[in-house]
Amino acid sequence: MADKSGTGADRRKRFEDEALPHLDALYTMAIRLARNPDDANDLLQETVLRAYRFFHQFESGTNCRAWMLTILFNNFRNGYRKSSREQPASSPEEFERKVENESLRTDPVGSNPEAMLSVQGMEGEVETALASLPADFRDAILLVDVEELSYQEVSGVLNVPIGTIKSRVSRGRALLRDTLANFAKERGIIRS
């Protein structure tokens, strides 16, 4: 039988070479989505096993991390979103107002990003700032900035139009920038 994935041993080897190197990235994303380790472990395991089952559908040469993240988000939407553990995002209207208020400030915090970058120990603040974002904005930002996917790929992973991705990245990053600058100001890294 002509199987694109080849024999079992071939499939396993290809999967270990192409897919498993992304395990930590998937686990990190699973932790952010599920918000507790047990659910994250289940989500990760389900994602990897599904990816293995459907590995013949993965087109070699395309972005394997994006493909696996797509499965992860699909699993999360199908299995976990309805769970009460997931914090609901603010309503779009509420978020819109918040962003509007932020961007109305002529010079939000007089930030100095280079100073912010040069300081050790902003990891905690980065995580806190990310956790404070509504989930839709956080996911888009993480996929673009951390996973380094293109808007087109993120659109596939999250199953929303590319224009929506563009707007989520823009708004999410504006909010993140202000939150991070506020942290930096509190710690005396930059002046207000």
Binding site: R12, Q45, Y52, L117, E123, Y151, S170
Partner: protein, 180 residues
């Protein structure tokens, strides 16, 4: 282009390299004449860099990695068994009857043994010295299986597993129903 349009519609995509050639030209024309937006562009890029460099990357716990690899092994061996079964089906088709019956008698105990081995692997782990820990979905599956074994009332002759297999074979049920 005014500053508001640049910041709302172009800035992020500009930093991310997602503008079309025409948009990029417009954006750069605007930045060339606007100090404030140039500063804003630098800030946006710094936030992006900060995230890429400082967002946490978590290591998959060894136990989770181990249970994933064990589950991949289980898929591999189940697939290999199914492929072997398909091969036997083809050879058996020439001589239906005695051979199929014999196959059923051979495979049923093997299938039961495979389930027992799989349950043992899941409960005790095979990779490394990691102590065995319960994995909720597998516990559930094992419990369900135990319940099934305890309460199952066959409506066919069932003195031995081979009897059950023979019945499935006679009724031409697909292999995956009985051939684990």
């Amino acid at each position: 282009m005014d500053c508001k349009t640049y910041i709302d519609k172009y800035l992020s995509a500009h930093v991310d390299g997602e503008l079309s050639a025409g948009e990029l030209r417009e954006a750069e024309e605007h930045l060339a004449g606007c100090d404030k937006c140039r500063a804003r562009f630098a800030e946006e890029r710094a936030v992006k860099t900060l995230l890429r460099e400082r967002a946490e990357l978590r290591r998959t716990p060894p136990m989770v990695r181990g249970s994933i690899l064990a589950a991949l092994d289980a898929i591999d061996s189940a697939d290999a068994k199914q492929a072997a079964g398909r091969g036997m089906d083809r050879s058996a088709s020439a001589d239906r009857g005695g051979l199929s019956m014999r196959r059923a008698r051979v495979w049923a105990p093997i299938a039961i043994a495979a389930v027992a081995v799989f349950a043992f692997v899941i409960l005790h782990g095979v990779r490394g010295p990691t102590p065995a820990q319960a994995i909720p979905p597998f516990d559930l599956a094992i419990n369900n299986y135990a319940q099934f074994v305890e309460h199952f009332e066959p409506n066919v002759k069932a003195n031995s597993p081979a009897d059950l297999s023979d019945t499935y074979m006679e009724h031409e049920l697909p292999g995956f129903v009985w051939d684990f």
